[in-house]
Amino acid sequence: MQLFMQQLVNGVVLGATYGLVALGYTMVYGIVQLINFAHGEIFMLGGFGALFTYTVLLPSGTPVVLALILMLLGGMAVSVTAAVIMERFAYRPLRGAPRLAPLITALGVSIFLQELVRNFYPAKSPRPFPQLIPPDYLINLGGGVTINAPKLVTVIAAVVGMVALSTFVRSSRTGRAMQATAQDPDTARLMGIDTDRIIVTAFVLGASLAAVSGLSNGLQFGTVDPRMGALTGVKAFTAAVLGGIGNISGAVLGGFLLGIVEVMATQYAPSPLSGGAWANAWGFVVLILVLVFRPNGLLGERVAARA
């Protein structure tokens, strides 16, 4: 039982990162029906932005809390800038183009950003990330089940991010405009909503959350690398679909579910289909099963098929 609970905690932690990144996919998809494959790279840029802030901009001896806040802001600045540029120059000109054209653009942006960081980020590989929150500080959750401090931060960030985002979308003026744009962009425009601005806002919000995740990922593992976004991106997209793409709570729920499935598969899947080498396959099997029974994901609404 202790083992099971510990693995459950591990799964929730793993899922928290997926969930935070999935929020960005879900926001953008909900509004412009675009699978932004480059969103994983925005997450990666957040991690690198935070690292750059720490190693280059901050004087040594900055108090930890201040350093963390500044790193977060630095990471967000990089992520948001990249997302806005990407939206403006790669995606916006393609609105109204054949549906699949932006998909290839997204692929191009993804390759470009990865290679840009790999070739031009000043520090050589690997890039050790400062462990400002000590990973060997274990918090006992009872019954011998533990979680270390950076992991706890990751989980808290995911939950706070989800709650803040859904409150924003539900209650704020901009948020309601976003809902309107998602439901019917043409009508929204007729109602005086600046849909271009709303779309940029969706990219900005998604990028900010990705930056939070990039920072917490760096703190948790003590390293960042240009490829981290590609792997996490696919998982996060999976999580978003699992939860019902376009649905904010669904994205985080999907993330947790995917994380738990992968961890449990590592521990409990029947041999020889156990172990890390099969874990991702189990994640996708669960995805396919969920979609067969709930074609719009766990929390997705049954909307009439768009043409």
Binding site: L3, Q7, L14, P135, N217, L231, V263, G275, G276
Partner: protein, 405 residues
């Protein structure tokens, strides 16, 4: 409006050109003297995840060529490098291999990094009897060693393929003997990354460790590229091993050891030459202390040629480090250069030159940066000296050097 976009594409290139012009004013014309130009090829991943390792191989060859040209090792010949990017994929490897074979000036090839790529490269090389020496392929099949485990006779599959590195079936058992006999570990956990190198090494280790009398737990696998290994660590912790052998490369190994020790499972991690990299310690930090790695050859400080190589490598200011296979690539290139010097001295050209070089490489016998370089009749190195390193105070320190029997 469209054209301004075009200018935007062209502009960076023009700026590059302008920058270079402003920075260089004089240049010596190099290709005088009526020298014949011959080429040594490199097949390695030069872009993507493994590019740092691939570039280390390329640089090792580049250094050997520069030294040979400076010392005029091959009379009347200027050597040049033709490095081809295999992107660590078998099909791309076959393509660039065909490219090198088609280029008549290519007299030998160093590479590739991955055994899986070698399996598509080696047949193409063999079809033209063009010598290829790998600094890193550890898969047993490439020289037919796989047959040995089943008691069958070893036959050489690719007649022009050589390698200067230890195979899995040597490195794994060597590490296992050290762990079980010297460190006296009792209960060993085995983890690998389910890639050809990691799995081959881990299986060879597990077999020997069991034969030596240790309890070997069921092999665990990870997914390369992952960062969160807490599920694995929790599972291992519940089985309470006293030693972990990891088959794979340093990026994952460093994270595993760190997460394992943070979670309170304080056992040493041991890996092969894929873990023997300075970056392992950089990522894992203090938690790397007490871990082990094996590597081919005697430690660098005991080998003058190795220390000289590192000094020379540093002097070239390459972007990527020589670790882990730069020295072996340097030796591979030198084996080709020495063979070329002999064959070319005999006045051979064309296919006869390639044939003769392949033959001469097989007869290599010299002291390289990784130790004595010579090959058996199957293309494997005769150098069976291996060293165990232990991470002590943030550095790999040799603890045992021995010849594997």
């Amino acid at each position: 409006m469209h054209s301004s976009r075009i200018v935007r594409i062209g502009a960076p290139l023009i700026i590059v050109g302008a920058l270079a012009l402003s920075s260089c004013s004089s240049k010596s014309e190099g290709s005088g003297g009526g020298n014949k130009t011959l080429t040594i090829g490199v097949v390695a991943p030069l872009s993507g995840d493994l590019s740092a390792v691939g570039n280390g191989i390329k640089n090792g060859v580049d250094l050997a060529i520069k030294q040979a040209n400076a010392a005029k090792t091959v009379k009347g010949v200027t050597l040049v490098l033709d490095a081809q990017d295999d992107t660590a994929k078998a099909d791309v490897g076959a393509t660039v291999a065909a490219k090198l074979v088609a280029e008549s000036s290519v007299v030998g090839v160093v590479g590739p990094l991955n055994s899986s790529v070698a399996k598509s490269v080696a047949p193409v090389m063999a079809s033209a009897n063009l010598a290829i020496i790998s600094p890193s392929n550890s898969g047993v099949d490439l020289t037919g060693r796989g047959a040995l485990a089943t008691g069958a006779t070893q036959t050489r599959p690719y007649k022009s393929y050589f390698r200067v590195c230890a195979t899995d079936d040597i490195q794994g058992p060597f590490a296992a003997d050290y762990a079980v006999k010297d460190l006296k570990v009792k209960k060993v956990a085995i983890v690998h990354d389910k890639k050809a190198y990691g799995q081959g090494l881990a299986e060879a280790f597990a077999k020997q460790a069991a034969a030596d009398g240790a309890t070997v737990l069921k092999t665990e696998t990870i997914n390369p590229g992952d960062k969160d290994f807490s599920a694995l660590v929790t599972k291992l912790k519940s089985e309470s091993p006293d030693f972990l052998f990891y088959g794979g490369e340093y990026p994952e190994a460093s994270l595993i050891t760190k997460q394992m020790k943070s979670a309170g499972l304080n056992i040493p991690l041991m890996g092969g030459d894929g873990v023997d990299a300075a970056d392992y310690i950089k990522i894992a930090g203090a938690q790397a202390n007490g871990d082990y790695a094996t590597a081919l050859g005697a430690p660098t400080d005991k080998l003058a040629s190795a220390a000289q190589f590192l000094t020379d490598y540093k002097a070239q200011n390459y972007k990527d480090p020589a670790d882990p296979y730069g020295a072996a690539a340097y030796d591979s290139a030198n084996a080709i250069i020495k063979a070329l010097a002999k064959a070319y001295g005999e006045g051979k050209t064309g296919q006869a030159l390639r044939d003769e070089i392949t033959k001469e490489v097989g007869d290599s016998n010299f002291q390289g940066a990784t130790g004595a370089i010579s090959f058996d009749q199957f293309g494997d190195t005769n150098n069976k000296v291996l060293t165990v390193y232990k991470v002590t105070k943030g550095a790999f320190v040799p603890v045992k050097t021995d010849s594997f029997k």
